[in-house]
Symmetry: D2
Subunit: 393 residues, 4 copies
């Protein structure tokens, strides 16, 4: 196995998930590259040191500007807040590092275009962390569609529901501030759904959107002193304004005539990470829910009517995507595997000199739909995705 040195910027939720994934990617026996967790980078020294020790990083650094320039680093893994993606990615590209960047790719279409341009000019490998593409059940959904089992698609019905800010005492963390996060569940959650729709159904043509906000002011968060295993936030002093939407509901027309919906909220009690979609086509239907990520529901019109029904495929067989690296049937896998699978595919692309998917181009396409929807909500009108893409060219 050949070592490939990784420099990771950011050490919180995504930093933890990526650190974990790097440890297990060798379970894919076909890989020749073996990633080395070289240096982890963050702003707060104490939690950073603990992260490095516990998660097995050789070094730590508080300067991403230095890390992206280091000659011994092959890959820059961007796990920071959205507002920093563009600058870090452009610097990494200029230094010819391969880039794995968390989602959403950027704050807006303009930034996304700059990042894509920088990556293409540098001819480096670039990938966006839409990890749900790499759930085995989702990969299987794509295969069934490609195999013609669903036929011509009529509908995409998707929702990404969470409930972690229903409590008014939950503090104003960065994800609730527009200047850092870009938007709320729209960018955080609808972005995943839009990427899945692009992957499974096709390109979005036009959108109509309504957004809303239920809680306008929240306590400021306490400063982070130490790394917690738990990804929780505590309130500190003072109050600030929530500057992102709390929910965003979108109806969409696709280029291929599909009529669809995307609904994202953080105000759905009982839904924890309910990344859910339904696909209906002339030959069959599919249903997926991340909270039961090992399962894919499939309905086929091509069987005898008498025995038609939604079946629950437990996507844990050796024939299912990625599973042969893991456990026997019925021994389900978890969230962390989506990251392991991403890195495995990224390493394969580096080795084979092929193009990763989803890459910065996919990230840009997703951003255009996100921006068009917010524009629709603002105007009270149907907006064409093309308009947004052209607007910044």
């Amino acid at each position: 196995m050949k070592p490939l040195n990784v420099g990771m910027i950011g050490y919180k939720f995504m930093g933890k998930a990526h650190s974990h994934a790097l440890k297990s990617v060798n379970f894919f026996f076909d890989l020749t590259y073996s990633p080395v967790p070289k240096v982890i980078c963050g702003r707060h020294l104490e939690p950073l040191k603990k992260a490095a020790e516990r998660w097995g990083w050789e070094e730590f650094s508080t300067s991403w500007e230095e890390v992206v320039k280091r000659e011994d680093i092959d890959v820059i893994d961007i796990c920071t807040s959205t507002d920093t993606h563009c600058a870090i990615a452009k610097a990494a590209a200029q230094n010819k590092k391969h880039i794995f960047c968390e989602k959403p790719l950027a704050m807006n279409v303009r930034e996304a275009k700059e990042m894509l341009q920088a990556a293409e000019e540098a001819k480096i490998k670039h990938m966006v962390g839409f990890n749900y593409r790499r759930v085995p059940a989702v990969r299987l959904a794509r295969k069934l569609i490609e195999d013609g089992k669903i036929g011509k698609i009529f509908h995409w019905r998707a929702a990404y529901l969470q409930d972690w800010i229903v409590d008014p005492d939950f503090p104003l963390i960065w994800k609730l501030r527009k200047e850092v996060a870009g938007s709320g569940p729209h960018g955080d959650l609808n972005s995943h759904l839009i990427d899945l729709a692009h992957y499974l159904v096709g390109d979005v043509k036009s959108v109509m959107c309504m957004t809303t906000n239920f809680i306008k002011y929240r306590k400021l968060p306490a400063e982070e002193r130490e790394l917690s295993t738990m990804l929780t936030a505590k309130s500190g002093e003072g109050v600030g304004e929530v500057t992102v939407e709390d929910a965003s509901f979108v109806v969409a027309e696709f280029e291929n005539g599909v009529l669809g919906a995307f609904e994202a909220t953080r105000f759905a009690p009982g839904r924890k990470n309910y990344n859910y979609f339904e696909i209906y086509g002339s030959k069959g239907s599919l249903v997926f829910n991340f909270e039961r990520m090992n399962e894919l529901q499939f309905f086929s019109r091509e069987e005898d009517l008498e025995v038609q029904g939604f079946r629950t495929i437990l996507a844990t067989e050796g024939v299912h995507p990625y599973i042969s690296a893991w456990w026997p049937p019925g021994h389900i896998i978890g969230y962390e595997h989506t990251f392991i699978h991403e890195f495995a595919d990224f390493l394969r692309c580096i080795e084979d000199d092929t193009t990763p998917e989803p890459n910065f181009y996919d990230g840009l396409k997703c951003q255009a739909v996100l921006d068009a929807a917010l524009l629709s909500a603002e105007r009270g009108e149907r907006v064409e995705v093309k308009e947004v893409l052209k607007g910044v060219s």
Copy 2:
């Protein structure tokens, strides 16, 4: 028990369901009125005679104009296609008959207003057949909301999905012709969802809507020669144009700030009568699916976090609405019961001289949201429900 003579106009799907219901309404021991299936009315003599014999009607008639005038008739039950509701209801009201009218109430807001005015002037009892209000689990949902178990509501997510016209060979029956049905799944299915939303959540303020059509031409249906137990349609000669939409997706803002969605289609393979809603509020959540109509899912934030979860309430206990008239717990009831419950409540209102719900006013409110949504789809703009209501005053 005091007899109450019923004249029913129409003898197909709804005629069958209503005929069945009239037989069992006496199982509610508190009722003093006992409905008598006096006369059934339709256009085609052969199937009409069979319906009368099999379903226990004393007489049959091919003239609704005569039936609504008969002195011995107390109640007119309208089970015909939507385009005929307005004329029959106005005539019945003028003859001082109580009216039970199937949904949607009318072809448009204008007709609905006329019907309401006629009924109010005649001071008769009027009810609209939004039967899903009378599913015990739905009634329980309303009670939990009224009891404050859900708190302030954030979201309504509803879909009514069917698949009976996915087959391109399914013929052009009246439900696919605008001049008879008014609209497609929008009026047929979204009307139910809108009524449920009005019943459970509150009034809709404004809407954005997209509709579409997947199959433009279909074979004309064969003429009906005999009454079939099966509610199926056969193709005949010739081809005609589908003049209603095949699917209608709506996002909505409610007067009370709720952000919601209504999605209706007949192109969702595997969904047979999937009348589904989710309600999310500050204290809890509810989920209902008619295909499992005896169940209500309830999530409460007011319990220890450790044991929070969506529970499936099997609404078959004596304490649940309507159930004490039926079977012991776990012995589930079916679709037909929604009609028995409607008639039981309608009879109670006649006896007690109280106002039935939902009545023609509720039917009008529903019609206004339906019309506003179609206008939004046409304009590509957000439309206020008020605008539509005012437009015909």
Copy 3:
């Protein structure tokens, strides 16, 4: 339609269910016989009169001995407690009445043999009320087995779980007294499972059984003064001993090599009428749960491994057993339909002069397995069903 006069003995839970069913059986258009609810029979005059009025019986009587002799009665429908089945059935047979008898057929194998002999000698039609055979999903299960979709069967795993006597204050009704009921959930619930196993899998060869009792003494029930729509029991004065088991768990070997289990209890909180089975065979599997009686789960090994999974068949299509008499797909039916279907088939057998199933012979076979299991529990040994059958010949 030709009238067929019914005399029903008993007017409580089963009396209500049968009364309801008789009203709707004409919805099966192929039937020529139309049952007439002639006379209802019971011991307590007041509730009996109310039952007759509300459920539409022409007459009532407090003497079953007279009713079974009436010349104008064609069918005797036995809905009384188990201890009275044998005497009533023998008298009815002697008077050449067709007999529909509720389950379990008898108190023991000896009685069951006498009943079968009397019925055969009288050459009347006889049927036992194992109504779950006539759930469309169960009928479909049988069809799939007959069509070879399950292959050679390996396992039958069945449980019938209820919870209505978990409360120690629930009174000592007749079902808890051995001299009236014969046994507890063993005879009441395992009898249904055994009949289903005979119907779907084959004959039971030998059994091992353990039974237990959790509450030994209960308050005596209050005397019945009036007919309640609710099937509830109230406590009165005094205390009595529970003389039946509270739970009975059985493992069984079938004649065809199947290894199976039958588990019945009234001490399973949350299980209301959880009549549940799983069937596993060389080609596929089936799962049924009465609380979702419109659904059958089916797994097939004959598909591509990639898409194998348990599918939920919503058995509400016109092609499914009995459904063409009812509603369109997805409009589910309820518990009461099992009785309508029983009567429809019984009437067909009378008309066609064919043998109903399940009949008294099936009732006897079921009784033999019940008796063998109780003997096994007593002895602490495996018992052959043959031994019990021979013991009373």
Copy 4:
């Protein structure tokens, strides 16, 4: 963090699972010991070398006799076939190594007693790999029982169903040979259920059991040439006899009066790793299914009847056992975590000098129930667990 050197004997399914777990145990921030994958041991050199490289072991060895004696080794981790457990464990104990041993502990009660005695004499820490105790949802079940939420327990209904040998062409691997495995699904699967019952419900008093065999002869397996990521077996030359049962169904009486069942089979198509139990008590009920291992179903009789229902607790909150080391709510974990949790607890016991659970004593108790059941099947009689325990003392 202090290093703790591990020597692992065996490198197949369990070897892979344990290797994976050792990499991630540091994610529990409270641990001071950090396990070092020092030496992996097996019989076949080529696959062994690959396992060592891919899974990160520093060394490999083909002699377990040498490994257990190495001074630098602190822990012996036994992942071999059941017939070798006793010898390896006794040797490891004699060399004062802490022992983690896979389940079932031994071939029979006699061996289990010897292993327990050796471990106790050596005063080392010993643990048995009943990993399902460490599923967060199972741990939560135990907590709810301890907190009194279930009340007095009435029933335990458990089944462990798989389908990997339904295909007659599946070869005769070691798990199908009595001399290596001890027994079939009885020892492999019922052992897990029995351990869970001991953990959650109490001690088993007596059992009645039936076993059976569906396929008597199978092809011999091909010799293993290389390590596969997939845990599959291929057929080679020749045929051999299956000497273990294919299914084992047990009914059981517990010391505390619970009536229960344990059903294990490898002939249940569609069930992949269906480790399932139901617990019914006077206050509530619990249901668990490993194929949805992140969920626990809970029914409480202590709520208003109106809202009672089985709730699905998604055991992924920070308050749930083990979860605080992992991801935010709804981001589910997988099978591999059960092993990480086992090692975390084992390391804590070594650090704190406390007794691990389940240990060799628990392994012995489980073995006694297993042996009693097989004796019951042989004799056709109820067997007391005590008899088996005494028999070898």
